[in-house]
Symmetry: C2
Subunit: 199 residues, 2 copies
């Protein structure tokens, strides 16, 4: 069925493996690469292997890092009494970009999802407990997602830590900034009403 | 603004350069790569540089190939009296996948587009003329696109070759297979009516 030379076909199949990329998009990407300068492609390829070689999981916080321990943990200017628990490193960087959180992070590496075979042992709860043993945190902010699994993970954390006498908080559910109520689903409006605050 | 380790950020910016890929998609791709096995990533990276190294333009037909001359030209089982002129190698492979054309191809390498600085000198008209001088073609099928520039390119080819006494044909405009008339634009319906045939 295919008519491309092997070298192109092979690369298309590699790009097709990426999330959100079908055959047609992969084809476009490869055609674009063919137009790029050879040095650029070598740099691109080198940065792929380089990334895989240098990036690892932080020994303490489980975040993606190019060091033994993430600088978000070692940075002395950050508040060492606040711990934010997130599902993935992407979530961590999303929180970081908001600019309001200056504490430490723990990255679970996913969310509880029994149907997909992800139980507590697959997530970094051991690192979470070790961080709490080795630090003095006044508040744990549970910033897992607001879907069913993220919520189940939050409940699990709350149960895991509730004997520790640390303040455990959950990020707010509500109407996203910039959206109007008539485009917001009922569950979100219900949660926004339940979470209302005094002016 | 960014908080990813440099190695990740660099790779995200490489992926963002690909067509149809924004920062968020590039981020997802890089996170996916991090989950892949190191050998796979090395193979992926190697196939990128390998493709750039081995793929070139066919000396005769201008098609993408891993040989000096494309096998679509050298294959003796193909009809050497039919020549199909297409804009790009992707178009060539699209025609090939239809399975009805068994002649030779010439790839122009684009379409006439004065606004983008693409005139006749940027396209492979020299190779087209050389093919006609060195072969005996009974029919030239002009399979450039049906947009304004593709059409202008087709007209240019018709003028370029009209003294050659070769039959020059243009692929049909009309309603795409599987689409209903009420979703088809007026220009296409107009062309479909103009191009009607006897049963």
């Amino acid at each position: 069925m295919s008519c491309y030379p092997d070298a192109i076909e092979t690369l298309i199949s590699w790009f097709s493996r990426l999330p959100g990329v079908g055959y047609k998009s992969a084809e476009r990407m490869v055609m674009h690469l063919l137009e790029m300068r050879e040095e650029d492609i070598q740099d691109f390829a080198a940065s792929m292997t380089e990334m895989k070689r240098t990036i690892r999981r932080c020994a303490v916080t489980n975040a993606l890092t190019d060091r033994e321990v993430s600088e978000f943990y070692t940075d002395p200017s950050r508040d060492s009494s606040l711990l934010c628990v997130v599902e993935t490193s992407r979530d961590m960087f999303a929180v970081e970009r908001s600019g309001v959180f200056k504490g430490r992070y723990l990255v679970l590496g996913g969310k509880l999802s029994p149907l997909n075979g992800i139980g507590p042992d697959e997530l970094a709860f051991d690192k979470l407990l070790r961080m709490l043993d080795n630090g003095s945190y006044g508040e744990i902010i549970v910033a897992t997602g607001s879907d069913v699994e993220g919520e189940a993970t939050a409940v699990y954390i709350q149960k895991l830590l509730h004997h520790k006498k640390i303040r455990i908080t959950r990020i707010a559910y509500g109407v996203p900034v910039g959206s109007s109520l008539d485009y917001t689903d009922e569950m979100t409006i219900m949660r926004a009403l339940q979470g209302r605050r005094e002016y």
